[in-house]
């Protein structure tokens, strides 16, 4: 293996583009860690603003309350690494937006809150973007139960979460568990990007 393999990997990741649909608990944390890992281009979309309650688990700060999430997240990513290109779209995504905004992305991350939005993006990618990988989060409410969180690969759709834990008064969303699933999504993205890279550069790991 070459000595500067980590640097080669970062160079490669800096050329990759990842789309993130939704910038709440899943999307904000996933985006931040993809940025830290070196992914060079991010396309983020959300229609919401930061509220004080969001600070309980989303990657924003007190002084960002009232800002659009996409603008606050872009600022936070640029504070970590100003060389990362962040395209921020302030809108509630529909099927045609997904096709348009994420067409140039290597991988799309589903980071919506509501199940019907999750279904919409899964169907859009399956129907209209069949070659695209979609990494989704499903079942992450409550606390504990780290051991039942898992990844299920359904062809190009990758499902992260326990697939059972619903948000309810007795099982609210909590920062650690949402954060774990957000990072499972980010980790799957890196794995997919690296699979492609290693396939094309077999000599590097010999």
């Amino acid at each position: 293996m070459e000595k500067n393999f980590p640097a080669i990997v970062r160079d490669y990741l800096s050329t990759c583009t990842v789309g993130i649909a939704g910038c709440g608990g899943l999307g904000s944390t996933c985006a931040i860690n993809l940025a830290r890992a070196g992914v060079g281009k991010l396309v983020i979309a959300d229609f919401d603003i930061v509220t004080p309650e969001n600070l309980e688990r989303q990657y924003y700060f007190r002084d960002q309350v009232g800002k659009l999430k996409v603008h606050a997240l872009k600022d936070n990513i640029e504070r970590i690494d100003p060389s990362i290109s962040v395209k921020a779209f302030d809108l509630k995504l529909c099927s045609s937006d997904i096709m348009e905004l994420f067409a140039g992305c290597d991988i799309i991350v589903e980071a919506f809150d509501r199940a019907e939005m999750k279904q919409m993006i899964i169907e859009t990618t399956l129907n209209d973007m069949p070659d695209k990988h979609l990494v989704t989060g499903c079942g992450l409410a409550g606390w504990g139960k780290t051991d039942i969180l898992r990844v299920e690969r359904l062809g190009k759709v990758i499902v992260c979460g326990d697939q059972v834990s619903e948000v309810a008064p007795e099982t609210p969303l909590t920062a650690p568990r949402v954060g774990i699933v957000a990072n499972m999504e980010a980790n799957e993205v890196i794995e997919l990007l690296m699979q492609k890279f290693l396939k094309e550069n077999e000599d590097l790991t010999k």
Binding site: G25, D113, A115, K118, Q119, I122, L154, V159, V167
Partner: protein, 67 residues
């Protein structure tokens, strides 16, 4: 016929059945689902036209709010 439904063997009193019929029969009332048949994820438009046959492997996943 016998099928594998979410990794459990199920006996269905028919030679073949559509996905839509299977959802009713097995009382999958949850609206937000992903369905996989023999490794392939179906589009919703295929639920009425895709038939399940003896020996098929069907998985039904619930999509759950939270993110």
């Amino acid at each position: 016929m016998k099928i594998l439904l979410n990794n459990k063997e199920e006996v269905i009193e028919a030679g073949s059945i559509t996905i839509s019929e299977l959802l009713v029969l097995k009382k999958f009332t949850w609206k937000m689902l992903i369905i996989k048949v023999n490794g392939r994820v179906l589009k919703r438009s295929e639920y009425d036209t895709t038939t399940v046959k003896d020996g098929d492997d069907v998985s039904v996943f619930h999509l759950i709010t939270g993110g």
